[in-house]
Symmetry: D3
Subunit: 251 residues, 6 copies
């Protein structure tokens, strides 16, 4: 099985961390490729960042429409996941939704830790869109830039730990979700300290894609995620032009 | 007062129709400018279209951050509205949310008519995000491309009429929302035939921006819509670079 | 344009404050008349007060069914709004719903400040009825009679300020709604101190009525707000008798 | 035990029907008094009717604040129930809420039959306010004036029967609620024909009041339903004046 | 009238307490029998306990399908209530649902006190299943085993009191529900100390069964609660075999 | 990896079908054991069946607490899943929740097909409990006993097909979930005929367990699913006694 993991931002450091996390727990026969767009923001810390990164992610994926059994979008806002589902038939899974679904099988309610307060509204919208808001005990934020968090994992874990403890003690969380793609290295130490499952979305998403693809399950093309139909597209890359031309998005 | 109306797609015909609709009911002293991005899809009929158009809309708006008292995003999926709110302090209103709010002051429940079945999921997500899903009696779709709808308004009205009648008779709708930016010319004939309010989002959004701006009300910068902070941004336009550099997004 | 603003209570002081707030931001061509019923409670601080005031508001409005382009009901419980919509075709807007809708275009989530803890259930019911409860971060109350609040605006602002700060810091509010008709004078100082939009419902409702009426939009008569039909009505005022007799409620 | 049943409209015929229904299944030791206001609408078929009837119901109850172990408000819109709870300590139960609660103990989901389509929004608001909207399979309406329904119960049953059958077959209803105070005589024939429980709200509300009062349970005065506090009340009846003066509403 | 109250656990002490509580406020003509299964857990403090107790409760009730006008299941998790509704036609009421419904007629919002934090998820599921989660201000837990709580009621009341006070002051509760079958003796002292209604579910459930049965209302057999149909049942008790054989479950 | 799949009913035929389905798509290194209780109902078609089967499932699992990396409960009502999570640390996944989560990654909304109308309420409760009710387009039922469905898969597929078509055309479903454990053989033909993903819960649950276990993720013991604590347990099997004695449920 061959899975493409896309890091929607342009940080090479985070792409490396994500690639490492993606291999955690992957099946022996699973080959994982990790790419990031050439252009766009270094980190995704708001709606403008996300809008720009979503565009470049779609553009990248338009050029990788064949040769994969599934795709992972490795940013916790799940940018461009719906659009990517239009472009390919193989399963496309966001790391937020993957951790929401997996955590729901392990805990009555779970909390999400994010790195910046301004990302809480983004995550609240995401919970609603996926329809899992009642399973979420709380979204809690520290104040730590995404880049800084990726630089010193030990310090990041130290900052997240008290917030995770409050989620468990005050909000009724029974598992913790790491609300950022680069936090994989933090999962094991946090879980050890807390005594509850701590889920890294990248690893979860790879697992979900493996499970779907092994069962021959692919994105429904019945309605929402049907391939984009041909129409005038001004100034698009050759890859996007080709994806639109392909009609089904997969040939 | 000076309002910028952005048509997120690249269709010149729709930009003209939108500009005309935007002036319907506007205050005498309101000056309305209508722009559309140079690049992107001709019509927005799915998630990929929307992702591309959202990027170009943000790019356009980044170059128009001063000189306006408010902004309207004139596509019924409200693409890039949240991102645009980060870039400027003046109110930014999407045409879907404007018609949701205005219709809620006129009718117990209302229905949305959209042009393609595949847009129903997009609208259902939008209703949830704005928190008004209980006010919506139904989302009903005909099957008519956005471009075709804009070409022959009389035929478009004929196609929409029976679906609107069903929304009123079967779903309990008391008002009808036109779920596409180019349908302004259809509002009056439909309302005449149906005997209930029919709302064009472009006109509604201009009205809401006028009401907000006249009262000195602007987007909250407290959290979700704070200006994007400076970070490495690879391959962005000069306008986007400047918007990020501006810090507050408004200077 | 001519708008009637009804203060449902009998306090002359509040009627004056409301009239002043109603003119804030109104269009130059808008003429605003402000009336209050002769009978009923001096302030509205509970369900019994509201039930009595709603009756007198309907009675007043039954005598003012023509000559206006729109109506504002200026009490934050939105008493009698639904009934008034039956009596006239021109838009009728409550100050709570107006601020709910306007704030939703400026902030991801907003909080309402009310003057008495016992009014929190009234407001929670209202949020539900309008279908916007998820947009509301919190309803917070101080303990200050409505009459006292209207007497000394400076002290009122001082009392509200810490509660507003808690709404922003603890509940995630990005805008503040003043949950009482007489608090217009408090909006500017609070907004200055908080750095977020503070919305006065009276001014918002006038803006929403202006926007609706300028676009020729009126209350749907399709179902919920159809005119009351003639039936024996014992002991009603001549105005109410006439309104019922009118059938359509508007002639 | 002594229970006051208030018919909020002025129809003598309906007061008689309600009085008869109230005695169905009442305990041998329960004494039931049935009153209706002197003034107000003959039937309650919309928001204006309800606003007027609510006022007269509060006025009536203000004069009957002692001598009863509990109160029933016998109109399916539950008008003035919250206000009446402020005025007395003994339990006050609306017939809609009583049938919602009782039906929920007998059926997974139930449907409400109402007499006019325009009352559906009223009932939908009520379901939300009581928080039981998910237990309701559907609100279905025939088109039959309240007065006409009370005149010929056999014909009323005939009209309701097919709608009840559709609720069971198409909506998944397992019990039927009669959404009007005067439909008690219809319950037995409908239940016989349908083979599912058919609930008359008047009888249910008396049962709920008996159950509460026998256990010494009374309305909470902690917050929402605390007695109205003294304030200037212009033009009110002596009874209302006295109720406000009483402070606690019960002495 | 003859009511069977089933204590699903095997504690003789709790069966005695429950029997006493069941008689509180019951009608003079009501005869109450209180039984508990021979087998199963001594107290019900988690999902495994509940699963085992539910089975033995069904088994017990299968042997008591005639001779009663109604049934109460006296454990606050309402175990086996749905299954018991299949087995008999007479009303079956759980003590949680009974207190949810009764409290909703007395208070805008109410809180539930439970004895162990791990029971909070069980109660949250229950609130959702009954569709009353919005009426619940909070579920609050002390940490006290069910058996210990039953042994020393005075100490139990002391432990619950501060948590109840917090529910009223911080969560907006206006009534308190005792979230365990054995807490009847605690209701009166707590209510005296708090000044708000405190509801014991056992007494409430008896009242609700009396009210339903006196009105001839029984469980709907239309769908969810139809009698179990005959099928191979391996290793079941004679009573269960007979209940299945009976078809309608009631003959 | 070693997974135990429990069929909660006693039908040997269904246990065989489930075992076969469980192997569909499983990893080469995954060893699957399939067991069913000795006692209980042959099929699970209602609440009583489910209550009995849940007990025997818990009893079976209490004797299989070691030697497995994860557990699947193979009945679409997910009976005893919460209780089993208390007894072991390794992941326990129900087939309903597994298909809910997996389908949500492939389709905007999906529908569930069940074999009997009376199971619709059971499934509606389940959707609510898992918090995914908004992702579900509809629950649709044919009328076909579980045993009959398992006997002739071709005829079963024929019966389900038109209902699945209606779910797609009328309800907006983009994927179909087979709402019964024995329907694995029906998935491929239905998917072929419909052109949308058709999910068999047994195969999905094995995939989810594999994904969780490969990542070292296990059930949270923080609160809801903590091991049952020792208490008097009358008449329980040696296995249950041992499970309670084990304290942590895993040693």
């Amino acid at each position: 099985m061959r899975i493409l993991v896309v890091n929607p931002n342009t940080s090479a450091q985070m792409t490396l961390d994500i690639a490492r996390a993606a291999r955690e727990g992957a099946q022996p026969g699973t080959e994982i490729l990790c790419l990031s767009p050439e252009h766009g923001p270094d980190t995704i810390e708001g709606y403008t960042d996300e809008t720009i990164a979503a565009y470049h992610t779609v553009d990248l994926l338009a050029g990788e429409r064949s040769g994969y059994d599934g795709y992972v979008i490795a940013c916790f806002g799940d940018p461009a996941v719906a659009a990517c589902r239009e472009l390919v038939a193989a399963p496309v899974v966001g790391i937020a939704e993957a951790s929401f679904h997996m955590a729901s099988a392990l805990a009555h309610r779970w909390s999400v830790l994010t790195l910046l307060p301004r990302l809480k509204p983004v995550l609240e919208d995401l919970l609603l869109r996926y329809g899992v808001e009642r399973r979420c005990a709380s979204v809690r934020a520290v104040t730590l830039g995404v880049a800084a968090a990726a630089e010193d994992h030990e310090r990041t874990a130290e900052l997240l730990l008290p917030e995770a403890r409050r989620a468990i003690a005050e909000d009724g969380a029974e598992a913790i979700l790491l609300g950022c793609a680069g936090l994989g290295p933090v999962a094991a130490p946090l879980s050890g300290a807390l005594g509850v499952p701590v889920l890294d979305g990248v690893s979860c998403a790879v697992g979900l894609v493996e499970a779907l693809a092994a069962r021959g399950l692919s994105t429904s093309k019945a309605n929402a995620f049907a391939a984009p139909e041909r129409g005038p597209l001004v100034g698009a890359s050759a890859n996007l032009e080709a994806a639109y031309a392909a009609g089904s998005g997969d040939s």
